[in-house]
Symmetry: C2
Subunit: 618 residues, 2 copies
């Protein structure tokens, strides 16, 4: 960015904003040059940070870039609340053009990496180009330097992080790709020192394509940014905490998320017939309880670590002391991962599931996509399409996970993403994916909102763009009890749109999604206002969220995505579920109609008038 | 224990008690034999477990044993609440005859070791004898086996635990002694995998004298003992949690212990002129704030781990990213340790303090005693008695810590304990100790109750036998606001007696002392009743606590301790403090008179009538 007078003006303005480090690093891996720039105030006001700002940079970089080419950018972003005392703000997101979907994508990790990036003086790192040989980035005191990582190449995530901590101090935050990212597996991910992952969309493959192995961050708490209005900030933060305490899902000691973690959902979702099972040939799983959070808590749970700034502590560290997997000590049997390797693959062995998740963390593989790859291979095997896997064969599953990461045998097909593999195997209908990304642990026949959520997600099938199960299963939304019938389709088009807008904002802040069970919008607005010093009300907040969502859609439209891309695997539309959803299919068309009306899109395209209204284009 | 019909009867009775594993291992290190026995119901009813039961075993073993001889026993004990869902119950204690004081001693550690010992099937391990060569004990599934530890001898605590976890699985709990224990440093301690220590009294030296390096425990949560009365247990546990939430000290998210840890006391105690400084030549420290919990939180705090079963999370893991100690990542800058290496040594460098605590954890040294050893050496140097240390010389302090552990130079004198060293150096008055054990971070000129507490503690000077600062500083006792003037001596004799009795019970349960800020006695009684199935009211609870305290006193009486042993270093009695205590000395004699009247002791000796009344002797 050149130093024009207009930009100098912006910079001076930006300096008034609290919460921001006011510093983005642009790292050109090809020539090793690093440039530093401030966030333009206009960008900060429009897109806040995190996801929103990352996608803005993506658009500025040109939308038609090839995801695994040097021209793509890889943005590692935090928001204005990151690294402050704000509750549940310990997040970081990786934003890039996805090699799995061809859409923009953003994927968020917990732990301490986000806070430390802010404390190291950055709101974001934007990597472009391709290093001549494997490199890692060292971030400290407002500088980014690149270093040789030849000896790290081929190493697992954990080996890499251990070596980096030996070299740069045990307290250094680090995030790394594994062998899967190096091999350009299209759903390779980043995993950090806290074993939290930016799981979805293949951000690890983009890093691999750039020869970028690891990012090491040395941040000092003493550099925590101060809110612009400390008293208002404290008040809003206290209000957030009080709501977190009040809501049974988030309550810090006895709440569902603390006691059983995300995997408390396994039995709940199974009971309403919304647990995709055997590659979604069924929607309930008889062995659900054996792989759910309650069983984990009664058997292998070790402790409850928490991310920076979080009173909830949803992570459930486990250890296995007996049997085949004895000695395994791993981060957490999260609901989505337990489902992917469990119900989806007809596997009721929770210890094996823990081992598979752990293996994925070592290899740097998205557990959701990997589980889908396995379950799809099982269905393909059943159909005689490949010589693959039997349902629930845990040893063979473990082997195939390894083969995917290393692109061996049919693992090489699957490494292109289950959707491409299914296409190659001549049965695209067995891939449970939208826009090339596989579904998560909610069957849209049992939770209708999730159907329109998957279909209209801007990063391919995803439960996190519009988490309607908050209303349909958990029944707590933004601090209010809120019950929506999961089998009713009416209203879900609009509901998912509202959720998408809310998350467009909160993912840009960038705060933990679980906070949105408890924290009301006016409190989020209050936190953001107080930290930045820029007044923000709930209407403006929703407008920002809508802007972010439309920005992403615009980016995808420029990549050719239209209404027809907003679809679902046929079995959800035509084949009834099982269990409590045994008479139900997903009424996607009706919900899409409602949804497009809410959005004001034409043929799935954001009209120019909307882009102008939202200030996305001039 | 032979299998007489009387004992068979007891065993059957014991089997009805919930919470207990009903299994003690007696490990004879000399011949490698391990015997298993149940706890006699009479013992369980009288002494509960943990501290009480450990001291009972000590008495049964014969009181006149030489602490560092094979005849001494080393008891590793848990109580009926350990490893259950009871809040703040994650403790384990090591009970033995102390080589530092010649009294009985018990020292409690947090973390996960206690719960895992219970889950491995044990209420206690009692080691006796001496192994031919270094050994470690492996505890799993109700068995204890001994293994060669020759290759571990000489290794630090952390190296040892890492090697054991490599061998026995990352999830194995382990506690180890360090080089200091091997060298029989009289204040060597045990440190566990969570870096929590059984710090005081030289329990690590007793292990060293037995060639016992490490205890590795593989316990499975699935073996958690169930309460005898689950509903009553849940109700009592809920009541405990509600009180923990209600009291500002223990509240799980914003409470003092969670936010700043124990080191929140530094400024509080300094302000009332009760922070022993420069080897207690002063009682306030101008640099207190620089080493207190608030500063730690603002600078080097990393995260807030918690012990098993604890909603509070008082531990404050820190990392140092810059300066001389950059790269240091350690467990917690606890108040007592920060004081010992800080105020006591006139050292205001909190990073250096963290490094010293960490060094002690590696070497297996009690930080309180070590800090006292350093401060005393500084005073001795000032007086020209030794060529030792200048006040606040952190590099030299670090060196001397190492020398103490390895018994090099004057470190060898200090390894005998500061009291013996002071004697040798011809200046016994500069050792701030009682019965050979040094004081903790409370100056009895500024907190009077602590004076009679140190003097009458059954394990030498100790703040934890009767923690009157709960009333004198923190102002929360057993869930009630309770304010006692720290400069008033009247009533403190009785106050300390009541605290001693309460802890006699809670240390036998064995629960965290910090719970006693919040949890009322009837809730403790309810928890104990519900878990064991044996009804217990508050009066019986206090009677048990009194029994335990008198049992210990009886043990010490049998070792020659009398009223005259209940003393304090002269400077607390004759030289006024500084700061807010500038006009104050400690009125020990008056408080002792009150105390003995409360106790009903004669010349410091428990009369036979009392022993009979309490059922200690028949």
């Amino acid at each position: 960015m050149s130093d024009t007078s207009e930009e100098r003006f912006c910079r001076e303005e930006v300096m008034k904003l609290g919460g921001y480090a006011n510093r983005i690093a642009r790292i050109n891996l090809t020539d090793g040059q690093v440039r530093y720039e401030e966030i333009k105030e206009e960008d900060a006001r429009k897109y806040i940070g995190g996801r929103g700002l990352g996608v803005k940079y993506l658009l500025d970089n040109g939308p038609e870039v090839e995801p695994l080419s040097p021209d793509n950018i890889l943005c590692v972003m935090v928001g204005p609340l990151t690294g402050t005392e704000a509750k549940m703000s310990g997040r970081l997101c990786v934003v890039t053009k996805s090699p799995l979907t061809g859409t923009c994508t953003d994927s968020h990790m917990g732990g301490w990496t986000g806070a430390k990036l802010k404390w190291a003086g950055f709101d974001g790192l934007v990597f472009k180009g391709k290093a001549q040989s494997p490199a890692y980035a060292l971030v400290e005191d407002g500088t980014v330097t690149l270093h040789d990582a030849s000896d790290l190449w081929g190493k697992s995530v954990h080996e890499t992080i251990d070596l980096m901590r030996e070299k740069h101090g045990e307290g250094a935050a680090a995030m790394s790709i594994g062998p899967a990212g190096e091999k350009l597996v299209r759903f390779a991910c980043w995993v950090n020192a806290d074993e939290r992952a930016s799981g979805r969309g293949g951000t690890g493959a983009v890093a691999g394509s750039k020869n970028l192995k690891c990012i090491v961050i040395k941040g000092r708490r003493a550099n925590m940014p101060q809110p612009a209005e400390p008293e208002a900030f404290e008040k809003a933060n206290k209000a957030a905490l009080n709501k977190i305490r009040e809501v049974p899902t988030t309550e810090p000691v006895e709440g569902d998320l603390h006691v059983h973690g995300t995997n408390v959902l396994m039995n709940m979702v199974n009971e309403i017939g919304a647990l995709p099972t055997r590659n979604a040939q069924r929607s309930d799983f008889p062995q659900a309880d054996a792989i759910g959070g309650e069983t984990v808590a009664d058997t292998i749970l070790e402790r409850h670590p928490s991310c920076f700034g979080c009173p909830v502590g949803c992570k459930k560290e486990v250890e296995i002391t007996e049997g085949k997997y004895a000695g395994l000590h791993m981060e957490s049997v999260e609901y989505e991962s337990a489902w992917a390797f469990g119900a989806m693959c007809d596997n009721g062995d929770v210890n094996a599931i823990a081992a598979m998740i752990d293996r994925c963390n070592h290899l740097g593989l998205d557990t959701i996509e990997t589980g889908n790859a396995l379950s799809m291979t099982m269905e393909a095997t059943e159909r005689g399409l490949v010589d693959g896997l039997a349902w629930g064969d845990t040893d063979a599953m473990m082997e195939l996970i390894q083969k995917i990461a290393l692109r061996e045998g049919i693992g090489d097909d699957l490494a292109e993403g289950p959707a491409r593999a299914a296409e190659k195997w001549g049965a695209p209908e067995i891939s449970m994916s939208v826009k090339g990304q596989s579904i998560a642990a909610y069957d849209p026949r049992g939770i209708k909102g999730m159907g329109v959520g998957y279909a209209t997600s801007n990063r391919g099938a995803c439960h996190l763009r519009g988490y309607t199960p908050a209303a349909e299963v958990v029944n707590w939304v933004l601090g209010e009890e809120s019950e929506a019938d999961p089998l009713e389709w009416k209203g879900k088009g609009e509901l998912v749109g509202v959720f998408q807008n809310v998350y467009g904002f909160t993912d840009s802040l960038d705060v933990c999604k679980f906070g949105t069970f408890a924290i009301p919008l006016d409190v989020y607005a209050g936190l953001c206002s107080a930290v930045t010093g820029v007044p923000l009300d709930v209407n403006s907040l929703l407008k920002i969220g809508e802007r972010v969502y439309n920005l992403e859609r615009y980016y995808n439209n420029l990549n050719g995505f239209r209404e027809g891309s907003d679809n679902l695997p046929e079995r959800f539309l035509k084949q009834t579920g099982t269990g409590a959803a045994s008479e139900s299919v997903c009424e996607l068309d009706q919900m899409l109609e409602e949804y497009y009306a809410f959005r004001g899109w034409e043929n799935g395209v954001v009209p120019e008038s909307k882009l102008k209204e939202l200030g996305i284009i001039a």
